[in-house]
């Protein structure tokens, strides 16, 4: 259905910056769930719609704790 993006993208969260406010999960429930302490658990593989959702999460995070990167980026 959705076309595969040229590069696979990954949503990352900086757990130090994240304060568990949970806005990311509200705007991007498709790719972010909250664990039972309120911190985001991220879907490993993003399809094209997932990338859109991930971009919303990045914009919504009040702590600027999230970012998108190419999936093969060295950790």
């Amino acid at each position: 259905m959705s076309r595969a993006p040229a590069v696979t993208m990954r949503l990352r969260v900086d757990p130090v910056a994240c304060e568990g406010v949970g806005l990311c999960a509200q705007v991007a429930g498709r790719v972010v769930e909250l664990d039972r302490w309120g911190y985001p658990v991220i879907e490993a593989e993003l399809d094209a719609r997932g990338v859109k959702a991930a971009q919303r999460a990045v914009r919504a995070c009040p702590r600027r704790a999230m970012w998108l990167e190419e999936a093969d980026t060295l950790r």
Partner: protein, 422 residues
């Protein structure tokens, strides 16, 4: 093969090389169970003259050395066992000013091999640091220590006073980190050497010209110094064994766990061993007794000794209690930055404590589920040590876990290990 059989065999000589031909350590040492690696009895230490008489002058470092390091399959001895040249190649691709760090701040609370090596052979470690710094064109060369490791600091300062300063080489800086054991975490060190707090961090998109930091464990650098001189790989492993005190020994890597303990005077087989330290993994004694302590042999069995810590658990103790205590310790040691670690580790500790007390109901499934959720979600690997501990405890002590979960706690106690509440 039965556990008792293991100790029916006569003690073998430890696989130590002949005296006069040390590989890394000059000799084994006995230490107090916790704290810095100050030996209980005076131990040998090498001055510059002895070092040079033994090994000859230090060769200059160059990237060509990577061939020898690859052939020797040299991996990081801080615990992760990443191939050294993988780190070198990554460092060589960057453009920002490079700092090479010799990490002497062991990131396992009871590990003492690095502190021992720094006390006995500071020149060998400094050689390795300078060789790596030269090979990679580093601007700074730093030795990073735990803030309370005065013995290592003194040994290094004395060694540096003996060494001639060479024009054009970075002067070795000795930096004291916090006492906290997470101070040895690589991303925390990278921040601290550039004036930041010694706290782990997540690397976002690296900027092309940003300062780079390469962190090597001190034993890794000592091995670099030997390989750079054209020596064959030592074939040895340096271990910290926790008993009533701690022993730091260098053994032939083909030595079995059983022989390591027999040589150290153990007369009773433990029920299990904690491999790698508090953030390590449990294994049943029957599974490891006849395995060699060699890391690649262990990897083939799905095991790792990390930074070389062996902590045997006596037959009379309770692995579930012991694990609950360890998890409490790990939870208290969190750098308290990341939600999944700050909330997840206490939750794991509580779950294991409830299980130990026989009041957990379906707690085992929940404990494993919590561990799976916490795994990989901190800025550093501290929480991953805790999740691995949980998973290995549940499989290693399966019978005890089942009995506790069925509301039949054992009443057996735990062993007093440094920092761990019983």
């Amino acid at each position: 093969m039965s556990d008792t059989l293991v100790f029916g065999t006569p003690p073998l000589p430890a696989g130590r090389p002949a005296v006069g031909d040390p590989c890394l350590l000059l000799g084994p040492v006995q230490l107090a169970p916790g704290g810095p690696a100050d030996p209980l009895e005076p131990a040998p230490a090498e001055d510059l003259r002895t070092h040079l008489d033994r090994l000859g002058p230090r060769p200059t470092g160059s990237p060509a050395l990577m061939t020898a390091l690859d052939e020797a399959h040299l991996t990081g001895q801080g615990g992760a066992h990443v191939p050294v040249t993988a780190k070198w190649r990554r460092a060589l691709t960057g453009r920002g000013p490079l700092t090479v760090v010799a990490n002497g701040a062991e990131s396992e609370p009871v590990a003492a091999k690095d502190g021992t090596l720094l006390r006995q052979r500071p020149h060998l470690v400094l050689d390795g640091l300078m060789i790596a710094a030269e090979a990679l064109g580093a601007e700074r060369a730093v030795v990073w220590l735990h803030g309370d490791d005065h013995g290592a600091r003194q040994a290094l300062l004395a060694a540096l006073r003996e060494r001639p300063w060479v024009l054009g080489h970075p002067a070795v800086e000795i930096l004291d980190g916090p006492v906290h054991y997470l101070a040895g975490e690589a991303s925390a060190i990278a921040r601290a050497v550039h004036g930041g707090p010694a706290l782990p961090t997540v690397r976002r998109h690296p900027q092309p010209g940003a300062p780079r930091t390469l962190v090597h464990n001190v034993e890794t650098l000592a091995r670099v110094a030997l390989l750079a001189r054209g020596q064959a790989p030592t074939g040895t492993r340096v271990l910290t064994v926790l008993g009533e005190g701690r022993a730091v020994v260098e053994v032939d890597a083909r030595t079995t766990f059983a022989d390591v303990l027999v040589d150290l005077g153990w007369t009773e087989a433990p029920q299990a061993v904690l491999l790698g330290g508090y953030g390590g993994m449990w294994a049943r004694w029957a599974r490891v007794a006849h395995l060699a302590v060699d890391e690649s042999a262990l990897a083939a069995e799905g095991l790792t000794l990390g930074a070389g810590v062996i902590a045997p658990l006596g037959a009379w103790a309770c692995g579930v209690h012991q694990t609950a205590g360890l998890l409490g310790y790990l939870a208290s040691m969190s750098a308290r930055q990341c939600g999944p670690c700050v909330f997840g580790l206490p939750s794991l500790a509580e779950g294991m404590t409830a299980l130990a007390a026989g009041r957990s109901g379906d707690g085992v499934a929940r404990l494993l589920a919590d561990a799976a959720i916490v795994e990989g979600r901190g800025a550093c690997h501290h929480p991953d040590g805790a999740t691995r501990l949980v998973a290995s405890a549940v499989s290693t002590f399966a019978d005890d876990v089942a009995a506790h979960a069925a509301g039949r706690p054992c009443g057996a106690g735990d062993i007093a290990w440094p920092g761990v509440d019983s």
